[in-house]
């Protein structure tokens, strides 16, 4: 059994990434079914807006984990709903505090916000964070991710968010330091606006902004710690034996390395195996051979498994069990 696919230090997180249409969902479902069969309590979550996890498992799924077989639970996150809920929550929060700003017409602003760049990534990260927060309920969590681009950005987000949080904490600390210094010399300053008297916080412990910053930082740090810990997280890249998926996998490999997220396994899916030569497929077979050689050469140190192209589309539990066995135990090269 491949040790990086099973729990080692607490729960195990698996991200299955790859170009659209290479078989991410099938691969992740197979891994999940295989793990469940071997006695690990497994949750498989689809983050892909183009949901087809349900189609592969032949079950109707929602955002609540649904039991599929013993030890296997599956859910599909509805990103659109998530973003809406996320914005609704923020809007309510803000409206209460900035009541006097109603002139600006916050609603309109929030309508626009749901289309703002990056919102999908943030909502996805938030969803991942929530699931990881309750990670101890499971032995293994398998994420079936959206196509590579979005996933990579999401995996890079914790690191970037930490930089932002640190910078802001830094400035905030300086502000509070100065407020304290002034208060020491001149006494505390009292402000009066619209007849309401108040003081501004000057200690870290009483400053809600600082508290929120530190809270946010620790939340993000938690995600970052999980996804960069090779004893907890493994990324499985799925590709087809073609040039374009190869390039994309290569790029993914580079950026994952930059963000310290451990890529452990490459699954080359839909490899055509012929018993006898077919002249019409000769060119295709040669191209495939070339890509397979490239894979061996370029991803040294990462395990590569080849899965054959099956005559029948691998759907349903029996197929998934068979494929899961191949990914978890056999087929290495």
């Amino acid at each position: 059994m491949r040790e990086y696919l099973v729990p080692k230090e607490g729960f195990r997180v698996l991200f299955v990434i790859g170009k659209g249409g290479v078989g991410k969902t099938t691969t992740s479902a197979s891994i999940a079914v295989g793990l469940a069969e071997r006695g690990y309590k497994t949750l498989i979550v689809s983050l892909d807006p183009a949901h087809n996890l349900g189609d592969v498992l032949m079950e109707k799924l929602s955002d609540k984990p649904k039991k599929i077989i013993d030890n296997l639970y599956a859910s599909e996150l509805d990103m659109e709903k998530l973003i809406k809920a996320y914005l609704k929550h923020l809007e309510k929060n803000l409206k209460n505090m900035y009541r006097y700003l109603t002139v600006i017409n916050l609603e309109k602003y929030f309508e626009v916000l749901s289309y703002s760049p990056g919102i999908e990534e943030y909502a996805t990260l938030e969803a991942i964070r929530e699931i990881l927060g309750e990670g101890d309920k499971w032995d293994v969590i398998v994420f079936d991710t959206p196509p590579t681009g979005l996933t990579l950005r999401v995996l890079a987000l914790p690191r970037i968010s930490l930089i932002w949080a640190d910078k802001l904490i830094d400035i905030r600390r300086k502000i509070l330091e100065r407020r304290r210094a002034i208060a020491k010399i001149k006494g505390e300053e009292e402000y009066e606006i619209d007849g309401e008297k108040f003081k501004l916080p000057k200690d870290e412990a009483e400053d809600p902004v600082m508290k929120e910053l530190l809270q946010y930082r620790s939340e993000v740090q938690f995600v970052e710690d999980v996804i960069t810990n090779p004893n907890k997280t493994s990324v499985v890249a799925v590709m087809n034996p073609e040039m374009l998926p190869l390039y994309e996998t290569e790029r993914a490999y580079e950026s994952l390395r930059k963000f310290n997220v451990p890529l452990r396994l490459i699954v080359v899916n839909k490899v055509i195996q012929l018993r006898e030569e077919i002249p019409e497929l000769k060119v295709k077979m040669e191209a495939q051979k070339k890509v397979l050689e490239e894979v061996e050469r370029k991803f040294r140190g990462i395990e590569v498994i080849k899965l054959p192209m099956f005559a029948e589309e691998p759907r349903g539990l029996e197929w998934l069990k068979k494929l899961g066995g191949m990914i978890l135990e056999g087929g290495g090269s």
Binding site: L94, W164, L168, I175, R178, I185, Y191, L213, Y216
Partner: protein
Amino acid sequence: MQKIKDFLRGFGEAFRHQSTEFIEFELRELENVFALILMGSFIGIPSPPTTLVMRLMPHMVKEIRVMESRAVNLDDVFAEVAGMFDID
């Protein structure tokens, strides 16, 4: 006697004011920078993670109101800076 006391108090006050003048200026600028970064998306500079901004904004209400009132009372920034560095 009382007059001497008042005089000395005024003296002390002036000293205190002088000694905090720079810190106060720095504080105001830092506060402005902090708020500006949070609302960067309004003026087109890259802003921190939306989640973080949205979580901080509710706590910034009072501060932003103070800054607002300062902006209303502020008429000549250059004169202020010049005064601080004793430029006449």
